[in-house]
């Protein structure tokens, strides 16, 4: 057919808008692709605005709610993050900020297509929930209130009464006031669409009967993670929730004798399990289902090193494993031999006191090397080690080719570490693991020299997030580091020896940096050296040192510790923060 006779498209040789909307709306989801699309021309920008389904705002003060609503009026899913990550470690003042109210107002005003919302480390009140639910409750499918605080069981009841098509409710690790236990019953009675309910690591009280009622009414329930509730009371739940694939929470008591837990039979499809306070004597109850397990969470159990070995060797299909370092090198060797499909491994820090943890409960280069050799599918490793060598890093760099996220903390209990500094090992790891996007390295003085810190800069590749602790020896190291790290967007520094001046210079030099958090540095007398990094759209917050309760978990406030000063800086289109509490000092040149 003669090409010149083909009908011309409706818009001068270009792809018609409708077609572009279909292509972008249907096939282009990755936020980086979307960012690129929006920069092509105004027309593509407009189409992106109308078709983008999800936006993540990594720092809620980086943009205004109004701007979000005006740019993406048809948004379907929103994720908002408030407090800095350090809040998970009790380092950020509770009143720092991250109030969700202004966002909820805007959502209620104009985001008519929103059906999924994820709030992380924010302050959410019952009033906020009421406004949200009034505006979007009839359409809300997914509500995640993740490590938030400020609301109560009253707020939950408001949600339960109006969000009848809610499929996902996630409340993990949120601080929720109120001790009544009928909030769950409200959900059970008002909702039949629930597929995933998570109130793991909360203090919410419930009754087992309400869980059963929920399971009976929500036949699609596949994931359930609860707060503490004795597992022996859950027999009925497990019988009713036939479709359950994931269960977490529960609780065991210390019974040495008795068969209280022997009647438990887990649902057939269960492939993800995490049981709180499970001990050696109760472990065998999960043996029958071990072969099917893809995810296992032992972080909150009372198991010994030997128990971990016994258990894990029965789990050849494990893809995600979360433990404390009680697993030990021995346990890691079992993992390496057994769990060939392992993709994610988290090894948290157990008790420092040897009397309370298994004495074999230490992870070192021995276990890590075995892991790298035995588990080639690993994408995520987060580990607290007691000892480490350059060779172990090299092994990881050689064999863990799929690694996207690597985090290592060197514990401070051992006086002598086998092989410091770790300059060459770190270089090998960074050069070998070319897919790394996130990297954390927390050492001790002497752990990484200025040269080593320079290596991190030079070989950082596509790493977007870094947490570095006790690295380098001087400002020279930091400035060398800042000459590299071309893709670094978010940087957290702790317990380092850098001066304010060099921190400011580094912030200016790192080309992709949009977020910086620092605690533990060489402060100047006035803090004025920080202003060297003052520039348009760059908000700088200073959190002065303050005294806080040492152990907020189980102390009434008698023992207090000093929490050192912090610097937080981030790009923002929202201008200066107007809601800073006493504990936060915004810095700007006058």
């Amino acid at each position: 057919m003669d090409r010149t006779k083909l009908p011309r498209p409706a818009t001068c040789g270009e792809v018609p808008d409708v077609a572009l909307e279909c292509v972008l709306g249907g096939y282009v989801d990755d936020p980086r692709d979307r960012a690129a699309v929006s920069l092509v021309c105004r027309r593509w920008y407009r189409i992106d605005c109308l078709t983008r389904k999800h936006v993540t705002i990594a720092t809620c003060y980086a943009a205004t709610p109004r701007r979000l609503r005006l740019r993406f009026p048809r948004l379907e899913s929103l994720k908002l993050k408030g407090k800095p990550r350090a809040a998970m470690f009790n380092l950020i003042p509770e009143d720092w900020g991250g109030h969700v109210a202004p966002w909820i107002e805007e959502i209620a005003d104009g985001l008519d297509c929103l059906k999924a919302i994820h709030l992380r480390r924010m302050i959410v009140t019952d009033g906020d929930l009421a406004v949200l639910v009034r505006a979007r409750g009839h359409m809300l499918q997914s509500l995640k209130i993740d490590k938030c605080s400020g609301f109560s069981t009253d707020g939950l009841k408001i949600v339960s009464r109006s969000c009848r098509c809610l499929r996902t409710l996630f409340l993990e690790e949120s601080s929720i006031a109120g001790s009544d236990d009928d909030w769950l019953r409200e959900f059970a009675v008002n909702n039949s669409a629930l597929e995933s309910l998570n109130f793991y690591m909360t203090d919410l009280r419930i009754s087992p009967q309400d869980l059963e009622l929920l399971a009976r009414n929500c036949r699609s329930l596949t994931s359930l993670k609860i707060s503490e509730c004795d597992v022996s009371d859950l027999v009925g739940l497990f019988q009713t929730a036939a479709a359950l694939e994931e269960f977490g929470g529960g609780s065991f008591d210390d019974q040495r004798e008795g068969d209280k837990y022997e009647k438990i039979i887990f649902p057939k499809k269960l492939c993800s399990l995490g049981l709180i306070f499970m001990g050696t004597n109760q472990m065998s109850m999960i043996f029958p289902g071990c072969a099917a397990l893809k995810r296992l969470d032992l972080q909150y159990t009372f198991l010994s090193t030997e128990d971990h070995c016994q258990l894990i060797q029965r789990c050849p299909n494990l893809e995600v494993l979360e433990v404390r370092n009680v697993i030990g090198d021995r346990g890691l060797e079992v993992v390496a031999q057994t769990c060939k499909k392992l993709r994610r491994l988290r090894i948290e820090r157990g008790d420092d006191d040897q009397g309370l943890e298994d004495e074999q409960g230490k992870v070192s280069q021995v276990g890590l090397s075995a892991l790298a050799l035995g588990c080639p599918e690993l994408e995520y490793i987060a580990v607290y080690v007691s000892d480490i060598t350059n060779a172990a890093f090299e092994t990881i760099g050689t064999f863990s080719k799929k690694l996207c996220d690597f985090r290592l903390v060197l514990l401070d209990r051992e006086e002598r570490i086998t092989d410091l500094p770790l300059d060459n090992g770190v270089r090998s790891l960074l050069r070998g693991c070319t897919n790394l996007r996130r990297f954390a390295l927390y050492l001790r003085p002497g752990g990484l020299s200025d040269v080593g810190l320079g290596y991190i800069g030079e070989y950082s590749g596509n790493i977007q997030y870094m947490l570095l602790g006790n690295v380098g020896e001087s400002d020279l190291g930091l400035l060398c580091f800042a000459r590299g790290c071309l893709k670094l967007q978010k940087l957290e520094l702790r317990s380092c020896c850098f001066t304010e001046h060099s921190l400011a210079l580094a912030a200016l030099q790192l080309p992709s940096l949009r977020y910086l958090w620092v605690q533990g540095y060489k402060a100047s007398q006035t803090g004025r050296d920080l202003l060297a990094m003052a520039r348009p759209y760059w908000n700088i917050e200073f959190i002065p040192p303050r005294s806080q309760i040492a152990d907020p978990v189980n102390d009434d406030g008698r023992v207090r510790v000093e929490c050192q000063a912090q610097i937080l800086a981030y790009y923002s289109l929202a201008g200066k923060r107007l809601d800073c509490p006493e504990s936060v000092v915004p810095l700007h040149p006058e």
């Binding site: 690591m201 006191d353 009397g355 309370l356 401070d412 006086e415 602790g469 007398q525 806080q548 510790v561």
Partner: protein
């Protein structure tokens, strides 16, 4: 000649970015500021303080040049001020005694000092202890509670460890 002790506003707590304000303060406040960040003090002193401030008025391990302090001294002695491990101590000693103290301090090797200090945390982790995740902290506290609520026939060492745990593990 008495010299005023001085307080350095290390962290700009006064919320003003103008020139540093020098105020009178007690040794204790300096001590607490230093103990927060002993490295800071060393670096500040090494740099001879920023411009605009008077020469160091806090004597540095050198009784010979000691020009006195607010503490009254008896004849033949002079104040010897020692900064060590985040604390400030002032002694009235004779010149000879001061010299022998300084010599002795110089003789102690790094290793000996380390052994004497019984696991000084700041040498291993810099100035900040490794922070613990709240979720793990809660779990470990619950486990302690359960252990300490067990009957009197449990092994002694478990109870003893629980007590020790209370003191140092849970610092942010």
């Amino acid at each position: 000649m008495a010299r005023a002790t001085m307080e350095l506003d290390f962290f700009g707590i006064e919320k003003e970015n103008s020139a540093a304000k020098l105020q009178r303060s007690s040794i204790r406040e300096i001590q607490s500021a230093i103990s927060r960040n002993p490295k800071l003090l060393r670096s500040v002193m090494a740099s001879g303080f920023l411009s605009g401030l008077p020469a160091p008025s806090i004597p540095i391990l050198n009784s010979a040049s000691s020009s006195g302090s607010a503490i009254p001294s008896s004849p033949g002695t002079a104040p010897l001020t020692i900064f060590f491990n985040g604390t400030v101590s002032v002694f009235n000693v004779s010149h000879d005694k001061a010299e022998s103290i300084i010599r002795k301090a110089g003789e102690v090797s790094v290793k000996d000092r380390f052994g004497l200090e019984n696991g000084l945390p700041s040498r291993l982790t810099g100035d900040l202890p490794i922070a613990r995740k709240m979720s793990l902290q809660r779990f470990l506290a619950r486990r302690k509670q359960r252990l300490s609520s067990v009957g009197p026939y449990e092994k002694e060492f478990e109870v003893a460890s629980v007590k020790k745990e209370n003191l140092d593990v849970t610092q942010p």
